[in-house]
């Protein structure tokens, strides 16, 4: 009679499946608790929404061998220092707008989404906005009427007019500024930020 070795038996593998799955789920839950505590707004990795009151740099960190965001001196968005609650409300407005207009249907955000348009993770720091002095205004103008302010760099691809209101655009800009403070472990690498006061 042929007997089945223990390692080929149905019973062994059923038990193995249950134990392996349960173990992995437990590890994932533990890591999730830890990760969520490290990425809630107001932590080192994901700064508070009021970070939009300050200048944001993107600098090479020698010990980690990757570029990281650095929060600098006050540089209020639209010339006004906001409280934590006000800042959160503004960023929230922008975040909801990015979902309602499905920006991720063309762009990537933190590298996820669609590949039809540039990544928005560090859009706030993009050198294409010229200088600190012109940035807010150019971003506002662009969002209110993207085709009229199109760049394309030789491509015919343009962002359509999505009917973004001025209030929504402020929110979006706040959201983009806040997002640029997130420590993304060096993604995107080699990014050349816009020239800002205090640059070395």
């Amino acid at each position: 009679m042929i007997t089945t070795a223990w390692w080929a038996s149905e019973d062994f593998w059923r038990k193995a499946t249950i134990w392996i799955t349960a173990f992995m789920v437990v590890v994932l839950i533990v890591l999730t608790y830890d990760s969520l505590s490290q990425i809630s707004a107001g932590t080192e990795r994901v700064p508070a929404y009021s970070a939009i009151n300050n200048r944001i740099y993107y600098r090479q960190d020698k010990s980690r061998n990757m570029p990281v965001p650095v929060i600098g001196d006050p540089a209020p968005l639209f010339g006004k220092i906001l409280s934590e609650t006000e800042a959160e409300a503004l960023v929230e407005k922008g975040k909801i707008t990015t979902q309602a207009k499905n920006c991720m249907g063309c762009h990537t955000i933190l590298g996820n989404g669609a590949y039809f348009a540039p990544d928005l993770t560090k859009a706030w720091l993009d050198p294409a906005w010229g200088s600190e002095g012109t940035r807010e205004q150019l971003m506002m103008r662009f969002l209110l009427d993207p085709p009229a302010n199109s760049r394309g760099y030789g491509s015919k691809r343009r962002m359509p007019n999505l009917g973004i209101t001025e209030e929504e655009a402020r929110g979006i800009i706040a959201f983009l500024k806040w997002m640029s403070t997130i420590d993304t472990n060096g993604f995107p690498r080699n990014f050349t930020p816009i020239a800002q006061e205090g640059d070395r």
Partner: protein, 484 residues
């Protein structure tokens, strides 16, 4: 009952419901391809559909149609096999039918809103009623709730049927897995301003679906399919299923970490995600070995040739599309440059098609065979079965061609935009405007048309196969004997 005629009295109650799900699945598959072609064309001719059917709209319909048709296919497959596996009639068939119509009505409304309303103002109501703006699960919140309710009805049908009838290894795994599939969907159903937290949970839905629970689900369907089309031994198939599930969940659950490199999450995910996701191809190898070995043992003599061919396409597609093409960019050192480029799209197309479209198509053929009164579908079909063979060839070559074209564009984008340019607005377009990138986009569209042709032929074959057949299906045991 006449051989070759579509007659619902050939089917059990659950199977009649299954073919309804399959019909909608095929329609949505067609929509997926159509809107994919629109979106692909916009890379080459950005003026196409500008301001009317913008890229974001086409893409949203493209990927949502895919998710929904695949879920419809899976639900159909389970309704198809549940009664046979449980050895009893479906419990709550009326309710199941109602859920089908409610779900289908909801899907129709969602698609119409996508196409005609498209976007909303920056208010939370837009997320409730228009779209959530979150890739793959854009469906507005009201529809999310509807989907969950319908899934609960489906789950009740399946679990209650097994409870009334008998359990097996396959059904045990299946029911546990369905709980996980539905439960994970809940992780994608809330709003948060913190984009890192949002993406953390978003990946729970996407990754833990496609690289854990969906793989287990198709493992169950495959196990049943091998018993069904080849007459493989249940004991061996069940043991293999456990092995596959142990390996898949052992690697795939923590493999989730390969999406946590750059979204703000801590650095330990480099190690956890890199290590476990690198192991994910292992179960996929086991699945290929299993399927091909079983087919070989039975000398490929089987009761349904198109279905077996698609099952084999599934085994290889899953291995290459998910396993090989996934592995290529899963280590953080590589992913830093490829993340969010056409490289991801290359892998995404190959994996979704290779792993999930294929096995659904196999199940369509199995369903049609019985629907037409257990008609003959082995070697030597009318017209030499050219339609299913060409559909198989065109669809697979089309998708593999698209995958390779996207890979070329992906390389170009990773080098020019990411490695050299550092992902600025200007660097993005430097890559998009480069000749090789554009050539890749062109070839993707050409192979997309080939895919579309394969789809057309597939539909034609599905509605005609077996219609003029006079022979009856071989019994699996006889097919096996004929092989010996």
């Amino acid at each position: 009952m006449k051989l070759g005629v579509l007659d619902s009295s050939n089917l059990t109650g659950g199977q009649q419901l299954a073919v309804k799900y399959y019909t909608v699945a095929v329609v949505l598959f067609g929509a997926q391809i159509l809107f994919g072609l629109f979106a692909g064309l916009q890379f080459l001719a950005p003026e196409f559909g500008y301001n009317v059917l913008d890229f974001s709209v086409n893409r949203m319909v493209h990927v949502n149609a895919m998710i929904v048709w695949m879920l419809y296919g899976f639900i159909g497959a389970i309704y198809w096999l549940v009664e046979e596996e449980a050895g009893t009639e479906l419990v709550g068939l009326k309710l199941g039918n109602l859920a089908f119509w409610v779900l289908t009505a909801a899907v129709t409304v969602v698609v119409l809103v996508y196409l005609f309303v498209q976007t909303g103002p920056g208010e939370i109501e837009s997320i409730w009623f228009i779209n959530e703006g979150r890739e793959y699960i854009e469906a507005p919140r009201w529809a999310d709730i509807g989907i969950v309710v319908c899934l609960l009805v489906f789950f009740y049908n399946v679990a209650a049927t097994f409870m009334k009838g008998k359990w097996s290894g396959i059904s045990g795994v299946l029911v546990f897995d369905l709980v996980a599939v539905a439960g994970l969907y809940l992780a994608g159903m809330f709003y948060t301003t913190n984009v890192s937290v949002e993406q953390y949970w978003w990946w729970w839905v996407i990754h833990l679906w496609v690289e854990a629970t969906w793989e287990v689900l198709i493992g169950c369907i495959m196990a049943w399919g091998l018993i069904k089309t080849l007459g493989a031994s249940r004991k061996i198939v069940t043991t293999w299923l456990y092995i596959e599930v142990a390996l898949m969940l052992g690697a795939g659950i923590l493999g989730l970490g390969h999406h946590y490199f750059w979204i703000g999450t801590p650095e330990y995910w480099f190690t956890v995600g890199g290590f476990f996701s690198a192991l994910e191809p292992v179960p996929l190898v086991a699945m290929v070995v299993h399927a091909v070995y079983d087919s070989g043992v039975h000398r490929f003599k089987n009761t349904n040739h198109p279905a077996l061919a698609w099952l084999i396409a599934h085994a290889f597609g899953n291995f290459f599309g998910a396993g090989v093409f996934g592995f290529m960019h899963t280590l953080p050192q590589v992913n830093l440059y490829t993340h969010g480029t056409q490289w991801s799209s290359s892998h995404g197309h190959f994996a979704f098609f290779g792993a999930y479209a294929t096995i659904n198509i196999a199940m369509f053929y199995i369903a049609l065979q019985k629907w037409r009164g257990n008609v003959y579908m082995s070697a030597g079909l009318a017209d030499n079965g050219w339609k299913w063979k060409w559909a198989l060839g065109l669809l697979n070559m089309g998708v593999v061609g698209m995958t390779m074209a996207l890979l070329v564009s992906g390389y170009e984008q990773a080098f020019v935009e990411r490695a050299l340019g550092g992902s600025t607005w200007a660097a993005y377009f430097a890559a998009q405007n480069s000749v090789w990138f554009i050539q890749g986009m062109l070839w993707r569209e050409i192979f997309g048309l080939m895919t579309a042709a394969g789809f057309g032929l597939l539909v034609w074959d599905l509605v005609t196969i077996g219609r003029t057949e006079t022979r009856s299906m071989l019994i699996p045991a006889e097919a096996a004997k004929a092989a010996a």
